[in-house]
């Protein structure tokens, strides 16, 4: 049976689905008997999700968009 420390090293591959099926099965077997690892896995997954939702930009602010447009018009349309 693999230990918690080994599970930690496999977490990234496990979530990407790139783990060897046999090793993934061992990992899942460990999870069944190990509440701390389950909590760890869930909070590890949640971390990515929370960060994505917090940091994803919806849109560029309008004033930035219009400044970019002006900048490009000045520097590209009328080369000096």
């Amino acid at each position: 049976m693999i230990c918690c420390k080994e599970c930690l090293d496999l977490l990234c591959d496990y979530l990407e689905g790139t783990l060897d099926p046999e090793i993934a099965a061992q990992l899942e077997e460990h999870f069944e008997d190990c509440p701390p690892c389950i909590s760890f896995l869930k909070t590890y997954k949640s971390t990515s999700k929370l960060c994505r939702q917090t940091m994803s930009q919806e849109e560029i602010p309008d004033f930035v968009k219009s400044r970019l447009k002006d900048f490009l018009n000045k520097n590209i349309r009328k080369p000096s």
């Binding site: 230990c3 918690c4 930690l8 690892c37 960060c51 939702q53």
Partner: protein, 208 residues
């Protein structure tokens, strides 16, 4: 992942821009400006800097399109230019912070089993998970990450690019991308866990 039609369209736009077609450039701007701006913003945490970066990058695409040889995807080239522009910005500010990511690993006993209690805060209410305070914790923690881990985390987990794509952009092997990603996630998980542990401890202390 872009579809093959999107890739073909990208290639067509690149060819048209190389031939001097300004409409192709406009379309490239529309396709990429949000990605460029948001990556710039997430790396610098500053609107003005992100705007400067976007200006630099768009101008570089226009001026240097002839140097793009198509060895990697056009989008990877654009990401690389954006990262370079963002690094220049960050270096000019000389804001170096050294945090050790080693502390982010959980504590194991001699047999490799978890030593401390691990709270599962993942199912907390949305009002806690998405509170402004939580957002602050996240923004500060991401800002503290060393550059190497930060950029992998932002590209992979925030922008949602595939591990392979991140490897192509950064010219890193897949195991190297995963290792940096894992270290970043562990660090951020630890920061969030500390925050939620404190939150629940305070809440429990208040109970009569």
């Amino acid at each position: 992942m872009p579809t093959s039609e999107e890739k073909a369209r990208e290639q067509q736009l690149v060819d048209e821009l190389k031939a001097g077609n300004l409409e192709a450039f406009d379309e490239i701007v529309n396709l990429f400006q949000k990605k460029i701006y948001s990556l710039g913003f997430n790396l610098t945490r500053n609107q003005m800097d992100a705007q400067d970066i976007a200006q630099d990058v768009l101008l570089t695409i226009y001026r240097k399109i002839d140097t793009f040889q198509g060895k990697s995807a056009f989008s990877s080239w654009v990401y690389r230019i954006t990262l370079n522009a963002a690094y220049m910005k960050l270096r000019s500010k000389k804001k170096e912070q050294f945090v050790s990511l080693d502390d982010a690993f959980p504590a194991f006993n001699g047999s490799g089993y978890h030593q401390e209690k691990i709270r599962d805060w993942s199912e907390s209410t949305d009002s806690l998970l998405f509170s402004n305070e939580t957002k602050d914790v996240i923004n500060k923690a991401v800002d503290q990450l060393p550059e190497k881990e930060k950029v992998v985390f932002i590209l992979r987990d925030v922008d949602g690019l595939s591990t392979e794509k991140v490897g192509e952009i950064l010219e890193l092997s897949i195991p190297a991308v995963k290792s940096r990603l894992h270290r970043a996630r562990l660090f951020l998980r630890k920061k969030l866990s500390n925050y939620f542990d404190e939150f629940y401890a305070k809440k429990e202390a208040k109970k009569p």
